[in-house]
């Protein structure tokens, strides 16, 4: 991989830091009046998700990380691996539990997800921003109660638990934002 110097650090650039792939979030150029320039850099470790603050001398460089993000379709899981397919080539990739961990509660078969590949293997999976799922368990609906506020927990088909309005019932389909875990609306 190519090396990137501090002045090429851009938000979204993937680099290697302490043997882990990281994504650069912010890069601030700092230079005291008569002093040496340096860069304050915020990075996200793509393996752990942790955000790091690092200080580099201007001109220092980091090796690029072989990280690509690709849309793939979720096919099935055999319990050990989760299988995703590239829609164009039909090539299949096996993701481990740690790679799908955060996405698991939203995943339905056939969903198109963003799979982050590191050295060709799935490192993490981002579910679609919005999913439509069936309520499999909730308190009985209060008929007619559509205007009042108030909410109750509902378990969805994939295992996620979200807060939904009181009038909804088991078997109803709802739309949820996976980034916030918030109920977006009822699907008829």
């Amino acid at each position: 991989m190519a090396n990137y110097s501090t002045n090429e650090f851009r938000s979204g650039l993937k680099v290697m830091l302490d043997n882990d792939p990281c994504s650069i979030l912010e890069n601030e150029f700092v230079k005291p009046g008569k002093g040496q320039a340096f860069n304050r850099v915020k990075l996200r470790n793509l393996k752990t998700g942790r955000v790091l603050d690092k200080t580099f001398k201007s001109g220092e460089s980091l090796e690029g990380a072989d990280v690509i993000e690709m849309d793939m379709q979720y096919l099935y899981s055999d319990g050990d691996f989760w299988c995703f397919m590239e829609p164009d080539t039909f090539e299949q990739h096996q993701a481990t539990e740690s790679a799908v961990a955060d996405a698991l509660i939203w995943l339905s078969e056939q969903d198109i997800c963003v799979v982050t590949l590191y050295n060709g293997s799935p490192l993490s999976v981002t579910p679609p921003n919005h999913v439509e799922l069936e309520i499999v368990e909730t308190d009985p609906g209060l008929r007619g109660d559509t205007a009042q506020g108030g909410s109750k927990p509902a378990r969805l088909a994939t295992g996620a638990v979200v807060k939904v309005p009181l009038f909804l019932d088991q078997g109803d389909m709802v739309k949820v934002d996976t980034r916030t875990g918030e109920y977006q609306g009822r699907v008829k």
Binding site: N7, E28, F29, V30, K31, P32, G33, K34, G35, Q36, A37, F38, R40, K54, T55, F56, K57, S58, E60
Partner: protein
Amino acid sequence: MSDWQPGASIKALRRRAQLMSLIRNFFTHQSVMEVDVPLLSKSGVTDINIDSICATLSGSLAYLQTSPEYFMKRLLASGSGDIYYLGKAFRDGEIGNKHNPEFTLLEWYRCGWDEHQLMFELADLVSQLMDRDGASDLKVTKISYEDCFHDKFGLNPHQASLSDLQDLAAATGSLSWAGETRANCLDLMFSLKVEPQLPEGLVFVYDYPACQAALAAITTTEQGYKVSRRFEGFLNGVEIANGYFELRDPVEQRRRFDLDNTARQATGKPVSNIDTKLLDAMHSGLPACAGVALGLDRLLMSDLELKSIDQVIPFSWLRC
């Protein structure tokens, strides 16, 4: 916003024009003469951390000035009396939210003054510039470099050993600081740990470490160690000014130039042409004086509460 359009709003540009006009009025009122010294010179700057942008003139190398200082000192040595410059300066490689390679600075010199008198005048100027409704409430604080460093780290920055400073810098920044110079370690810790905690308003930090004297005179404190008579001004935590009680000794000046160039060679940077005309002027006699440079773009950022220098310059380098 498209690339062809300015980064600054027309409102910001109007304020910019107003500030420049207020500055000129201020100095006219104080009988300080404006000088428009050259931007292009046959000599660059030796300072290890400041790089000139080079140009070609009839096939020979020329340098865009990183500051009007050398030319202004030649005028002072020629008997100009108090002078100011309001215009551009250029520094290679400096691009960021607070840096543009071409920027506007105000620099002025007061003959017979020391740096503390100059801080007083700078505070007066800034409070007049920021004052829109006749009731200036700019808070001004003065604190020595030693005190702000000691408050944060419990160390005397002038007397601490190099290895102690390197350990602190490595812990603050990263391991690559473990082999750095005294000046670089101090700068890193000051920028990362002290600057963010400076009080609001205008803060003067004075008596910088002797290893960061640049063009300031060096003096020995009552406790027996050396400090430079250099100060910096911070407005709401952002560095806006750098001033000196000026070094006048041409032999010491020559020694510092040579040291700079040795350090440049050691880090693989091009060696700079030493400005011998400045040295000649100092031999002939620079009057005792204090001088300060103020970054106009940053002053405007603070005044308008904007985060990026691109928002106060008609066209920052990104748009040129």
